[in-house]
């Protein structure tokens, strides 16, 4: 907005100074504005197109004659396209438990790491840890999957009573590692944004360093840490490739323990989409609709949290 304003002023000045050049500038200005607008429209239109497409495809099986019962779909415990059985409840449960597990492990570990980097570690050590975290964030998810399959699944296989490594536990382990960079980076920057004066106040009252960190700095950064958590949830829930390789992707049944296989919503779509057709394909889109709704809720949560942070910021 600022820039647009400046640009306008420049063009206006030019117009006063020299009519001919002014006209040319106006023309240029218009071209650029249009380009900017088109760029901005591209993402908005993409979202609309994706939503329309996924929803029309995904809702189709539940309407018209020969409709599939929506409640069978949403509460079903079995997925067997060959027999026209499409139940995804056990996938929803699997996805949610895997995500919660990853959050329960990843948030404390990530927060501790962030506290360590932001408050405790000497600069030299930060210079090693931080690039490592950035690298972790950049690793493609298929590599995480390969690592999960080659290492974590093998380890689990050795101890699991089921004798199999692909499991809820494997998914939780890999997702935990995958969400760490998100949690760490966002938590760290919100910890660093805590005003020095809070720390001084705390030390001034005779608090130790650890007390200061946990009683005043972390609570003051809580909304940032919360949005880190919500973003982590989004990442874990939406992760596809890595979990597909290690989840086991059973065709039915709720997971009864950490050793059981799961079939996350995302793997369901990605495994079968390439060859599915007709109703089967529509059902995969329907799975996508459910996934999409989850992500939507998470985004709304995030907006709520960040707007709260903004309000706090103006008050200080």
């Amino acid at each position: 907005m600022n820039n647009a304003g400046k640009e306008k002023m420049v063009t206006e000045n030019a117009a006063i100074g020299n009519q001919a050049v002014g006209n040319q500038k106006d023309y240029k200005d218009l071209v650029f504005r249009t380009i900017f607008l088109l760029c901005a429209l591209l993402s908005v239109l993409s979202v609309i197109a994706i939503i329309t497409f996924v929803f029309t495809k995904g809702l189709k099986p539940f309407f018209g004659e020969n409709a599939y019962s929506f409640s069978d779909f949403i509460t079903g415990l079995k997925w067997d396209p060959g027999k026209e059985v499409y139940g995804i409840f056990y996938m929803i449960v699997g996805s949610i438990i895997a995500t919660l597990g990853a959050i329960m492990l990843g948030v404390p570990i990530g927060l501790m790491t962030a506290v360590f980097i932001a408050e405790i570690a000497p600069k030299k050590m930060v210079a090693i840890i931080r690039p490592a975290i950035e690298l972790l964030a950049g690793i493609p998810s298929v590599i995480y999957g390969a690592f999960g399959l080659g290492v974590i699944v093998q380890l689990i296989k050795k101890v699991s009573p089921t004798g199999q490594g692909e499991s809820l536990l494997a998914v939780i382990c890999v997702l935990t590692i995958m969400i760490l960079p998100t949690i760490i980076t966002l938590s760290e920057s919100s910890l660093r944004a805590v005003p020095k004066s809070y720390r001084e106040a705390s030390y001034g009252l005779g608090a130790s360093k650890i007390q200061t960190i946990f009683k005043s700095v972390v609570p003051a950064a809580r909304s940032g840490i919360l949005s880190a958590t919500v973003l982590g949830i989004g990442r874990a829930l939406g992760e596809t490739m890595a979990v597909m390789m290690i989840a086991g992707n059973n065709i039915g049944g709720l997971p009864g323990s950490l050793w059981d296989k799961i079939r996350p919503l995302t793997s369901n779509i990605s495994m079968e989409m390439s060859y599915a057709s007709g109703r089967h394909q529509d059902m995969l889109f329907a799975t996508g609709v459910v996934l999409f709704l989850f992500i939507l809720v998470i985004n709304l949560l995030l907006i709520k949290i960040t707007s709260k942070v903004g309000a706090q910021g103006t008050k200080n």
Partner: protein, 252 residues
């Protein structure tokens, strides 16, 4: 006069890296008095204050030599920073309440020091807020955010928060510089009231304020104490020309 020495400072030098911010300071600060530090910006008043409760420990690259004793005990050699800061509370220039409720702000110190019992905390919070002359204004909104009240009220909450750890000495670094005249007067009255139970050191740029409330005044200039004595004497017949110039506003 039988003044009791609370702090005794001798041959104190302080360096930020290679920059010497305090030069050879010798001073006794007396119990139950209000001591004012005055002097132009950057002369080392805050630095000296932070030396007295070891807040300087938190800054990298600070070197300190000389001795500071509290009741005869060396605060750098024979005391740990945490117990020192519990005995020597600090109120900062900018009101800095935590982003928590008023109650939690005042209860912060006691909780840190292990007090968990609700009824005890309630008592401490009420007592401290009363002492800080803000109880009547906030007693109905103890659960409200301490950042959603006026700057003057926030500063008195910060004073209450300091009183809640029952220190022996209270250091105030320009506590009224961000406040309006009425809030300033309230805090001055408060300081005069608190003097009965506490030793107070106050940094101020406000000459009238120093004159109104303090018993002793120290004039700082470029890291040195130029003159230190009874406030009356410093303001009425300063022995050093520089002090006189500063007080009468002819400085610089």
């Amino acid at each position: 006069m039988n003044d009791i020495t609370k702090f005794s400072v001798s041959d104190l030098n302080l360096f930020y890296g290679s920059f010497q911010a305090l030069k050879n300071i010798n001073m006794d600060i007396y119990k139950g008095k209000i001591t004012a530090f005055i002097g132009p910006s950057g002369c080392g008043k805050s630095t000296f204050l932070k030396t007295i409760n070891r807040m300087n420990d938190l800054i990298e690259g600070v070197t300190i030599n000389g001795t500071v004793t509290l009741d005869g005990v060396d605060i750098y050699k024979e005391m740990d920073a945490i117990s020192l800061r519990t005995r020597v509370g600090m109120v900062f220039q900018q009101p800095n309440p935590f982003p928590m409720s008023i109650y939690d702000n005042v209860a912060y110190g006691p909780r840190i020091h292990g007090i968990r019992k609700k009824s005890t905390l309630d008592e401490i919070v009420e007592k401290s807020l009363r002492q800080a002359a803000i109880w009547d204004e906030v007693k109905d909104k103890l659960k409200k955010s301490a950042q959603a009240i006026s700057g003057g009220q926030q500063q008195r909450i910060c004073i209450a928060r300091t009183l809640a750890i029952e220190p022996e000495v209270i250091l105030m670094d320009e506590p009224t510089s961000a406040l309006d005249p009425i809030s300033t007067l309230k805090i001055e009255d408060l300081a005069s009231e608190l003097k009965k139970d506490y030793t107070i050191i106050i940094v101020t740029h406000n000459m009238q304020q120093a004159g109104r409330i303090s018993d002793k005044t120290a004039f700082f200039l470029t890291g040195e104490v130029i003159e230190y004595g009874d406030t009356e004497q410093i303001f009425n017949k300063p022995s050093n020309k520089k002090t006189e110039d500063y007080i009468t506003g002819r400085f610089g």
